[in-house]
Amino acid sequence: MKMKTLELLRNFQHRLSRSKRWLFVAVITLCLIPSNTRADGIGDILSLFHTITSTLQGPIGGALSEMRKLSAAANNFRQQIIWPLALINQTRAFVSATRARYTGLMSQIEGIKNNSATLALPMQLESMFRGAQSGSIGQIPSIYAQVYQPVALAGNARPVQRNLMDIDDAMSMDSLKTAMVSDQTTQSMLTLADSLEQQATTAAPGSASMVTAQARVADLETQAQLAKMLAAQLRQEATKLAHQNALLKQRSVATQNLQNQIQQVLTHP
């Protein structure tokens, strides 16, 4: 019995010594690998969380907060300083009020008739050149000739005098025709000016610059028309001056002729 017990113990010891290797490997595996991995993983995760939260709170959150403040400030600056809606509406109301105040008065002044002739032919001529209808330009010479008489016939006046009459008549008629054209274009310009005013009552800051540019263009157009009228007036005044000077020249020649004739009379008793 004792022998068997001793043999069993020896076998167990032997088996135990072989199992120690497994146990050793298992203990080392359990103690070293998993435990270190878990410890290191938790530390890293905590560090990562800390980094993420501090990043979210600091750089990102702070920057976003500043951006929000800047955006709100810029928005307020635009709406309250640059383009305040109240002032925009006030300006529109001012334009409307100005139109309401002056348009009627201006229309009344424009509607005043200046016709003053009393006889038939002058009335016809006057109504024609005040009619602001360029289609009537062709009728001006005939009525003008009826009122002011045509150029003297060749037998009735010297060529110099006929030329003077003709150029004076021509310049007068040119000015009348130009005035008729100008009156008609002025009506168109007034229509455009009215459109501009209406546009100004509904204009926005973004479209105001375009309306302003169009007003400038209309102003340029008006200046050009005014220049045309001034040129016509200059031509007419220059013709008058030239006419007076031509008469002086003719008188000089006539005086010289008279002097020569007197001398001839005096030299031949």
């Binding site: 995760i45 274009t185 050009a224 220049a227 016509a232 220059a238 000089s252």
Partner: protein, 271 residues
Amino acid sequence: MKLSVLSRLWKVLRNAVAVVCGLVIVIALLPSKARSQLGLDPCCAMMQVGLNTISGLLRNSVAMPLGSIQQSQQQSANFEQQVVFPMAAITQARNMALQFEGQFVQMRQLFQLPVASATLPMSQMLEQSLLSGNPGAMPQITSNYSALYGTVMPPANAPQPVRNMVDMTDAEAQAAMKKAVEIDALANLELQAAEQINRQLQSAARCFFCWPAGPFNRASPPSGVSGANRHEHLHYRRNRAETRFTGKEDTSKAGRPRAGVPIQLELNEAK
């Protein structure tokens, strides 16, 4: 007897026991991840707390400011689209430029209507020169003027002071005629410039011509618009011409005609 049976049984089962132990070890290793997913591990709890913190921070520190910025941007965009740059107002302004173009072309054609009225050859030639609007025709004005109105009388026909006065008056009359031709030419150019600028305005998204308020060329006008202010110089030159012509300067209405201008033009300018 019993020990031998046990010994044999141990021999048979020891490998199985070793395998079972190995499996137990493996199972003991594997569940650490499985448990974390079920929230039983303290590490998992820490992750949960951390993720909740991050989520809260994202909501409060990132999403809220971003939402506020988006709201502000949206408000700004709405303000610009509805108040500052409303499409309707810009379209109306463009349409008005179209309307202007038709009127401008019509006006230019009206001013091109023939107004010549002379009937005799000499006066026709002078009139043609005067109405040409061509500054290159200046020499013809001199010759046609002399042919029609005559030249200065010879020295034998008049005293020298009279001849001087006649010559000066002729010069002034011719200067006025030539100035009229220049003004006509400049007016034609102004009409062309007005049409050209107006055509540009039709295709402009915003006004780039409105110096100095416009974004371009705050210091100097764009080349296309220089004509828009040329009338200022023209005013001056007209004033000088009229002053020379009449001998006195009209300071009340610099550069504007004193007579012969329809009242509508004056009213339009006053508007």
